[in-house]
């Protein structure tokens, strides 16, 4: 009898301990990832309502370590604007949500932003599959949304009046990449190796399109699953057999490293050109020295001295806040510039207090009356027009390359 009671007591203790651990994690999650962004720096006028901006991010999942760069870039922008007293004396506050890389959750986050949190505008759009699902819902909910990484053209193009891109649109990237490949490697025999989500598919379709415009075709198009596939021998060998002279690589992180390993095993040495996926640390972790010489199309590079004033200031503030430089350059720069463009639009539009009117005013200001903005990526005269919602054009790119374990600006541009 006594023993049984003792056992029950121990079990009770264990359950309590578990509940404690769980609740600690729950609370920790809130601190660690989102929600602390509002970091009000105090110079805004007391009593005034903060300006709420939605932040849709991926804090969990295999893209989280790259996605966090976008979020951090936005945080730096918020800190800077709040340090100056906010917009019209109102501090900016982020409403941060994690999509968990789940499109369904991404959609409910947009609804939540619009209907429950009543944000003025929002920013995010790292994960392409999620962004694709969110875009039509944003159109229904009618508030401006800055897509700051996702490359899929359709999330901003194809009649989407409410989404604006400060991102590397796959179509424009493909034009830039093809020009680069022709100029420096003197070939159009390109094999596309891509992950099977929105990111890779968007890039593959775009490259195929620009090749077709010149009456050409990719020599091979091979896919892999970013989370599951570890052995890429088959994909790489098919690309090799197709006679390709350049690999256009669109996976994320480690998966790209496995592709390099398979190329190494098959003794196949051709230039590899990618974008954000080949810029982040996963390719280096897995591929080690194989990553050297791999190209990554970016819009910024923080491993080198910054020549432009806003970029210097951004990098300083970023390093001060997070203790290191960004790990995915383009996403951090685009997150920052996207947020700043949004803040500029809010300031210019002038808020009336009527949510629907203000949202509409922000959108029209972005399209027609934004004026010049000097950002991390470049200086814009007017970043958007009613016909063009993509701020990053073919002249905004910066070709980077891995050298001795570091991503540096390429000599070939």
């Amino acid at each position: 009898m006594k023993r049984a009671a003792g056992k029950r007591w121990i079990l009770g203790m264990l359950v309590m301990a578990m509940i404690w651990v769980l609740s600690a994690c729950g609370a920790g999650g809130k601190e660690g990832a989102p929600a602390d962004a509002s970091a009000a720096s105090g110079s805004g006028e007391a009593g005034k309502e903060p300006i709420l901006i939605g932040m849709s991010t991926e804090a969990t999942g295999d893209n989280a370590m790259n996605s966090v760069n976008l979020y951090q870039g936005v945080q730096v922008a918020v800190d800077q604007v709040n340090a100056k007293g906010g917009i019209d004396g109102r501090l900016v506050e982020l409403v941060v949500r994690d999509t968990e890389q789940n499109p369904t959750r991404g959609i409910s986050i947009i609804r939540d932003f619009s209907q429950k949190e009543k944000v003025l505008a929002a920013i995010g759009g790292f994960h392409s599959t999620v962004m694709l699902a969110q875009s039509p819902v944003i159109m229904e909910e009618k508030f401006a949304f800055m897509v700051a990484t996702s490359n899929v053209p359709a999330s901003v193009e194809s009649g989407m009046p409410w989404t604006f891109g400060v991102r590397m649109n796959a179509n424009i990237t493909a034009q830039y990449a093809l020009k680069f490949i022709k100029e420096h490697f003197n070939t159009t025999k390109i094999a596309i190796l891509h992950e099977n989500g929105g990111y890779g598919k968007g890039a593959a379709a775009a490259m195929t399109k620009v090749l077709e415009a010149e009456g050409l075709k990719p020599t091979a198009v091979e896919t892999f699953d970013n989370a599951k596939d570890k052995d890429m021998t088959a994909q790489v060998n098919r690309a090799k057999e197709s006679g390709a002279e350049v690999v256009y690589l669109f996976g994320q992180g480690a998966a790209n490293g496995y592709v390099l390993q398979a190329m190494d095993k098959l003794g196949w040495k051709v230039p590899v050109v990618g974008e954000n996926g080949t810029a982040n640390k996963g390719i280096q972790e897995v591929g080690k020295e194989l990553a050297d010489g791999v190209y990554a199309i970016q819009t910024a590079n923080f491993n080198v001295d910054q020549t432009r004033e806003p970029a210097k200031k951004f990098l300083d503030d970023f390093t001060k806040k997070f203790g290191h430089i960004p790990t995915t350059f383009a996403s951090a720069a685009q997150g920052y510039d996207g947020a700043m463009l949004l803040f500029q639009a809010i300031e210019k539009a002038g808020l009336t207090g009527d949510l629907a009117k203000d949202r509409e005013a922000i959108r029209t200001t972005l399209e027609t009356n934004l004026g010049s903005y000097n950002g991390v990526i470049k200086e814009w005269e007017q970043a958007f027009t009613p016909e063009n919602h993509d701020a990053v054009d073919v002249n905004s790119y910066l070709m980077c390359v891995w050298k001795d374990g570091k991503l540096v600006v390429s000599d070939k541009q």
């Binding site: 264990l14 578990m18 651990v21 769980l22 994690c25 920790g28 999650g29 660690g32 804090a59 969990t60 999942g61 295999d62 989280a64 370590m65 966090v68 099977n196 091979e222 896919t223 892999f224 699953d225 989370a227 599951k228 570890k230 052995d231 021998t233 088959a234 994909q235 060998n237 098919r238 992180g253 480690a254 490293g257 496995y258 390993q261 398979a262 190494d264 095993k265 098959l266 003794g267 640390k281 996963g282 972790e285 897995v286 080690k288 020295e289």
Partner: protein
């Protein structure tokens, strides 16, 4: 020829991983009919701990390896006590499915909280060199998987055959009531099986981290692959599981090359279903419950 060889050896190294994880399922299934659905997350934990100890805390490789594996083994002892024992109420109970899935989610979230979402590869003590066999290449750090899995399999079989714990394990698998009547605590036996299964998961994860990037979310896909390997082979046959794991790894590479890379999962799992039509208890399974060693 060299291409076929290349596909086979590339497939073998991935297959080793599947086999190692699947062996962990087998150990627990045979003694009390439960599968630890968080096995994949335990493998992840082994890998993340290994990376943490070796790369971040700069402990020697073997120390990190042993500590990572032991910690995961011990954790599985706790899982058995909290998420299995209460819920395993005989052959018809399925509550443990839910409880172990829940444990898997908890492990992943706790790991994410402490580790963050980073991907990491632990440098292998055998270096970055490549072994060439008739023109086909395999990194030494992958090649090493084969002997390690071979040795672990041999130890497991010796354990089943020679040690009294192994005998008790097999006896529990055969007839739990009889074991209890003989005065052996079957709860203890189950706990031992869980510790061993955890050890295998920890070793699998730590080994994996020397060639593949480990991050907190690699667990579930690996766990699912391995569970299909275990079922394909027949859960009670360790040798069969290793064979099936290697077979699956090679099949993936070959199907990727000669059929389609986009649909290779579909083909692989289609094959698994066909095999189960043909041999419902798995490819290498002789009888329903006893361990085949």
């Amino acid at each position: 020829m060299s291409l076929v060889l290349q596909l086979v050896i590339s497939g073998l190294s991935v297959g080793c991983l599947y086999a190692l994880i699947a062996l962990g399922y087998s150990l627990t299934y045979v003694v009390n009919g439960t599968l630890n659905m968080s096995q994949g997350q335990l493998v992840m934990l082994g890998g993340v701990l290994m990376f943490g100890f070796a790369e971040l805390a700069h402990l020697p490789f073997l120390v990190s390896f042993a500590v990572a594996a032991l910690l995961v083994g011990l954790l599985n002892l706790g899982i058995e006590r909290l998420a299995i024992r209460k819920f395993d109420k005989g052959p018809n109970s399925i509550e443990w499915v839910l409880s172990t899935i829940a444990v898997g989610i908890i492990i992943q979230d706790v790991a994410l909280y402490f580790n963050g979402p980073d991907e990491g590869v632990t440098p292998s003590p055998v270096g970055e060199g490549m072994l060439r066999i008739f023109g086909a290449g395999i990194y030494w750090k992958e090649f090493i998987f084969l002997p390690v899995v071979g040795v672990l399999l041999a130890i497991l079989i010796l354990f089943y055959k020679k040690s009294h714990w192994g005998l008790w394990l097999r006896a529990t698998a055969d007839n739990r009531t009889a074991v209890e009547i003989m005065g052996v605590s079957s709860n203890k036996i189950v706990a031992v099986a869980y510790v061993l299964s955890g050890l295998l998961a920890g070793i699998g994860g730590a080994l994996m981290s020397t060639n593949y990037a480990v991050s907190v979310d690699i667990g579930l896909p690996l766990g699912l692959k391995a569970i299909s390997v275990a079922i394909l082979a027949g859960v009670n046959n360790p040798k069969g599981i290793v064979a099936a794991g290697l077979l699956l790894g090679v099949a993936e590479a070959v199907i990727g090359q000669y059929v389609s890379t986009a649909f290779r999962e579909m083909f692989v799992y289609g094959m698994v279903i066909l095999v189960l039509y043909w041999k419902p208890t798995g490819l290498f399974n002789a009888r329903k419950t006893a361990i085949k060693v």
